[in-house]
Symmetry: C2
Subunit: 436 residues, 2 copies
């Protein structure tokens, strides 16, 4: 079969997006049921195709071009298949984020304005390795009435293709659900081409390495939802409960050191440093964390590595943490706003006023008091599902679930009103009464 | 006095933005009162400086480099000064858009997550001619806790400078209000430099010609809030009340033909065309509107100009309108989504279901039933003030008031919770109970 080119796929997805925008919840839920059932039914086929990818991956490991960790992310099994199917049903059970009136105002009698949520349109998702992403994103797209164009990594080509085929087949059977809502593009079609389609694609979501995200951000006019670095901080205030500081710092660093929401730098107020640092460093060392400290830290706990300027701007992604002593909360805020990545930052304090000052002034998507930075995650936030974490300031911010995949329209219902009637010396007056 | 360079201004504005983020409403309202009083007090000085710009403008008119219309927009007088001062007080009386909890969830006992509104940070505003913009934008920025960097046109250099000076002086007198919140950059400093400051400036708002907006959109990585074209449509459905179609079309075209929300193309369902077109065209012609029609329109009303393909993609900004006969509502929707600019589009119909289909499927910031497209405006929407109209899909959309100048943060209040406690086989369960 001749391969359809990317521009045609994007154009068709755009046309479909207008139809998706008017679908009711029932049709979308039928579609999600169909996807879940069909994945279940085609389990053996899916595992067989996945096996082809795994065989290639084995060769790549031998050649040294693929790591064992990536192999494990690539591998599907019965458990992962169950989670996949359950994930689709979970999304089905979430509230429909589309067609919600978030605000409404009567402008005058018989002239009512509604601010209503609508899908974004066409979302391009570029991802690596994990084939589950195909199913997750497709489910979120269906529920939020967005069309998607998926571009996966070549290492998962067979798995991605069979999953996309199963999804498309399911959707084609659902009455009232339009064609071309879910699209997978082939490996040999370039990411670069996708990034040029700003006429058709409304949003790009990269899910992968920092370098992938950075490349995409600098090479497209399409808005990009995502984050490259995750440089998260904990500030131990002078009014901190030291036991909490230790407990939270350890969890934030070691619960999953490679995660973007793991802590990279701990700032300690100078008035509590002598008391807090020995305990804190001791606890981290017990978990085999390498400590890098500035001169003041080293003067209190000698047996650590020195931190240099570059340590404040690094996402280690590993069991390494940098520690710095600061004069006061203002220096901590300023350090975080300078070196941080706007992801998630935490203050440890028992002082409510200082917590508020920190949370107001630190310019990050997540600002925490006395809780692990690792909580920054769509599942833990109760969103049910997540398409990614955003450090953007003018798009959705923080973990992005269904709500982050909609935008709004203003709908105005009139009877025949003209602006002229509301202009000039005999102008009718607006009532401007809030309805919603 | 040595001129401070743009990078320093931008850096200082960024630092100030973190302070602005924690201001309470009272301090911001004091600042707005101070601005209003100070403008009133310095009226004569402001008018005198404005006169310098007007004298230069007279020369430019003689040389043919400035139009009389621009001169009128440039000119301040007692009435405009009154409106200016009242505008500041109106913004003061609006609800504070910052620190509002828009959503909140208990993740578990003593672990509460709040989604709270926060300012965007530093906003760059690039505008032409009208010096009132300095005051309007400064007031909106103060109320929404954003720092602003203003860049006006050289033709209004004296007026802009004196207004900015008066505002900065006022703000410097307000206890607790930080310095460098409002900044005006000089004409000889390039717009281009401002567009490169993506490390400091979070949002650019261009207010001016289509070509200015297009230039800015293609020359910066900073998100741009605005619209270049305003190609608005009216679709006269087969279930339209023709009298309403005529009344609304005339207002949408002639109430202010140069406005971005004026209608440019009217689409008429073929089943109502023979009846509606003669009345509609007659009414528009009475208002001296030039009509351009496709072949079908011309076959019904002969005495009009022909419309060519390019007419569907033009913002005339003048008393010209193109008219096309369409097969059905789907062709109308498809035409609008193809040629429109996502600004404001209206259906004239008495059929609720068709209205909903149109409003769901047309991908524009404003979708209307039976009301003039000219209603698309912050004042008419009841926002009290407007920084611009956006056709973006992932930023604020439609007329943008105070609410469009804030973004949100997730604030998490814990006691000492770690993610480890919620992981593994003995994991604590999240309660995920909505609070707000």
């Amino acid at each position: 079969m001749a391969e359809i080119n990317l521009e045609t796929i994007a154009k068709q997805a755009k046309e479909t997006s207008y139809v998706l925008a008017s679908l009711n919840t029932e049709i979308k839920n039928n579609a999600l049921n169909a996807i879940a059932e069909n994945i279940e039914k085609n389990k053996d086929l899916i595992l067989a195709e996945n096996k082809k990818d795994l065989e290639n991956a084995e060769k790549m490991i031998e050649e040294g071009t693929l790591t064992r960790a990536l192999y494990n992310r690539l591998k599907l099994d019965d458990d992962k298949m169950k989670v996949m199917v359950q994930g689709v049903l979970d999304v089905k059970n979430l509230e429909d984020p589309v067609h919600k009136n978030v605000w409404a105002m009567e402008l005058d009698k018989d002239l009512e304005l509604y601010k209503t949520t609508y899908p974004i349109g066409v979302i391009g998702v570029i991802f690596e390795s994990r084939p589950e992403v195909v199913v997750q994103i497709a489910a979120l797209a269906v529920k939020s009435s967005n069309a998607v164009i998926l571009k996966g990594g070549s290492e998962a080509a067979f798995s991605n293709q069979v999953l996309a085929d199963v999804i498309v087949e399911s959707l084609n059977l659902v009455e009232g659900f339009p064609k071309n809502a879910v699209n997978l593009i082939k490996t040999r079609q370039e990411v670069n081409k996708m990034l040029e389609m700003d006429g058709y694609i409304d949003l790009i979501i990269p899910r992968g390495s920092n370098s992938l995200v950075k490349f995409i951000q600098s090479n497209t006019k399409i808005p990009v939802l995502g984050h490259s670095d995750g440089i998260c901080h904990i500030y131990v205030d002078e009014n901190a409960d030291i036991a909490k500081a230790v407990k939270i710092s350890v969890d934030s660093k070691i619960q999953y050191p490679a995660a973007c929401n793991a802590v990279e730098t701990i700032l300690v107020n100078k008035n509590i440093a002598k008391k807090a640092l020995p305990e804190l460093i001791d606890a981290l060392k017990k978990e085999e964390v390498t400590i890098k400290g500035d001169d003041v830290v080293k003067s209190i706990v000698a047996d650590i590595e020195p931190a240099i300027e570059e340590d404040w701007a690094i996402e280690y992604g590993d069991k390494i943490v940098s520690i710095k002593v600061v004069e006061n909360i203002l220096e901590a805020i300023s350090h975080i706003n300078t070196y941080g990545s706007g992801h998630t930052d935490c203050i440890i304090t028992e002082n409510k006023q200082k917590a508020e000052l920190f949370m107001d002034s630190v310019d990050s998507a997540g600002v925490y008091q006395n809780a692990s930075t690792r909580f920054s995650d769509g599942f833990r936030y109760g969103f049910g599902a997540e398409v990614g974490i955003s450090t953007n300031k003018t798009l959705a911010r923080g973990p992005v679930g269904l709500e982050g995949l909609v935008v709004y329209k203003y709908k105005l219902y009139g009877k025949d009103q003209t602006v002229q009637e509301y202009s000039g010396s005999n102008a009718k007056k607006f009532t401007h009464k809030r309805i919603v």
